[in-house]
Symmetry: C2
Subunit: 124 residues, 2 copies
């Protein structure tokens, strides 16, 4: 039994979880699907770790082999390799084998953009 009378346009009451039905209906139809939110959150989760961010930061300057990343960040090889695996699995870095070495680079410009807008945000 909902109110049909519109005698007050600025009625801001939510009346026990019934909320503003018109507003709710409008926005509900304009957001992505469940599965896309799941995928997107997995993607952003990758940026939520300082080690991975450092790797992304380095690779936004130039392509590097695993060994150089370890050295530049003063991290052990297992740690870097593990994080690179996660970055690869999430399509954030790619690599090219060169003999014994693996040269890593960022997958595309989206990655660099997100990293830089984030950095801008926290520095402002």
């Amino acid at each position: 039994m909902k109110k049909n009378n519109l005698e007050n346009e600025n009625d801001d009451m939510c009346e026990v979880f019934k909320s503003h039905e018109d507003v709710v209906d409008r926005v509900k139809g304009r957001i992505p699907e469940e599965s896309e939110f799941a995928e997107l959150s997995e993607f952003f989760k990758i940026f939520g770790n300082p080690t991975r961010l450092k790797i992304i930061s380095l690779l936004s300057i130039e392509d590097l082999c695993v060994c150089d990343i370890c050295d530049a960040l003063d991290l052990n090889q297992t740690t870097v390799s593990n994080q690179l695996r996660i970055l690869r699995a999430n399509n954030i870095v790619k690599y090219q084998k060169e003999g014994k070495m693996a040269r890593y680079s960022l997958t595309d410009l989206h990655i660099e953009m997100i990293y830089k807008v984030g950095l801008e945000h926290i520095l402002e």
Copy 2:
């Protein structure tokens, strides 16, 4: 005792964690400080949860009260309120009290940009 001879410019060996010293020295000087990576990863961590992304997605369409968010996302009030607290603490949403209600909105355009670039990335 490092090699000084440059007889081979394309020498790609890393010689046991000594890596490519010139490259490493160059990039090391161009990345942010430890504390900034910590802060930035905390910031991005917020985007790494589907519930919070949904809230961000809704608020990128229009400002909403807690009740509307619960209803639009079919989530219980505690969950939404908890995530809003995290979003507030991380400067991702702000709110305005209007009587009993709290009307939430995104803090600034960076948030919307990051959300949208991420969505673009996973949809391509």
